[in-house]
């Protein structure tokens, strides 16, 4: 369990407790202890960024909106170190949740897999049905497990700084957005290049033969 917060910029700061990746509200992205609120209407083209230089009125208005929105939450909540934390599952089930993104994905729990490898193997690797398997490293920084609330707070601050840095750079900065678009285009071109290459090779060598998976499903009467 590690906490991260949806901040309204002043006490009480409300947070989730959870073990998965962070979610964002449609209207407000939490910046934790940074005492800032980042208001991003994700479904529109514009974005409103509140920084220390934003007028007190606008910041206060954003805080009020967040407080009012979060006050409607009816799930489990508890106070940890003076902050109110929401139960993550309750939050996800909350119909009033602004962030309607998919919150749960199919898969397995990495910690559980690693525990299994640890228990069945010689520490770093184990054998599963004749195949050597290893522990899985968590690559997503948001999933770093914190040892205690102090470490969680430190991580929160660091993350908040990063978000502020990125958003500040990009906000209303057409040149930066244009640069991102160029990167995006280059990536798409690379993907197209791979897709077209695969298709050309497939046509040249396999023509209209059915793909292997179709045959494996028995649709083409493949027999031994």
């Amino acid at each position: 369990m590690y906490p991260f917060s949806i901040s309204n910029g002043s006490t009480p700061i409300r947070s989730y407790w959870r073990s998965g990746p962070p979610c964002y509200c449609n209207k407000v992205i939490s910046l934790g202890n940074a005492d800032l609120a980042c208001v991003i209407p994700l479904k529109t083209n514009g974005a409103e960024l509140l920084t220390p230089s934003t007028s007190a009125d606008r910041t206060e208005a954003a805080r009020r909106r967040v407080t009012a929105m979060l006050a409607k939450f009816e799930g489990r909540a508890r106070t940890i170190d003076g902050r109110i934390y929401f139960h993550f599952d309750d939050y996800v089930r909350w119909k009033g949740r602004k962030a309607q993104c998919k919150a749960h994905y199919d898969g397995f729990v990495i910690a559980s897999w690693n525990d299994w490898v640890e228990a069945r193997g010689n520490g770093a690797t184990a054998e599963l049905d004749g195949i050597r398997v290893a522990k899985i490293a968590v690559r997503v920084p948001a999933l770093v497990r914190c040892a205690d609330s102090q470490e969680a707070a430190r991580q929160q601050c660091r993350r908040a700084d990063l978000i502020i840095g990125i958003v500040t750079q990009a906000y209303n900065n057409d040149r930066q957005i244009a640069r991102w678009c160029e990167h995006f285009k280059k990536t798409i071109i690379e993907i197209y290049r791979i897709i077209f290459t695969i298709e050309r090779i497939r046509r040249r060598y396999f023509g209209d033969h059915p793909p292997a998976d179709e045959m494996e499903r028995g649709n083409y009467g493949c027999s031994d």
Binding site: N45, K185, I188, I195, F196, T197, E199, R204
Partner: protein, 97 residues
């Protein structure tokens, strides 16, 4: 192939909806890739052929095929990579040596 392209189109349409001032024309991107792809296919298939020939023990022919590939690449993209050329030449002259 359509199944592969569909998610890209969805992603780009999302992008275009969000950044109207920076629209991406997919047709234009696809066209820019087409001529390159033919060359890439030749390179991949040629390289696979050279590797297959190499496994039969005919290092000289494999090296010769690789040199041909390098020539083709140089003709379309620029000067040869000296490291690759050396390897192919070495391989090509192995039997002579």
């Amino acid at each position: 192939m359509d199944a592969l392209i569909e998610p890209i189109e969805k992603l780009v349409s999302l992008h275009n909806a969000s950044y109207e001032q920076f629209p991406i024309d997919l047709a234009e991107l696809q066209e820019s890739v087409q001529p390159d792809v033919e060359h890439l296919v030749e390179q991949i298939v040629g390289s696979a052929k050279a590797t297959a020939v190499e496994t039969t023990g005919d290092a000289r022919r494999a090296g010769s095929l690789r040199l041909q590939l390098l020539d083709q690449r140089a003709a379309t993209t620029g000067p040869k990579d000296p490291t690759l050329t050396k390897t192919a030449e070495k391989q090509s002259s192995k039997v002579d040596g």
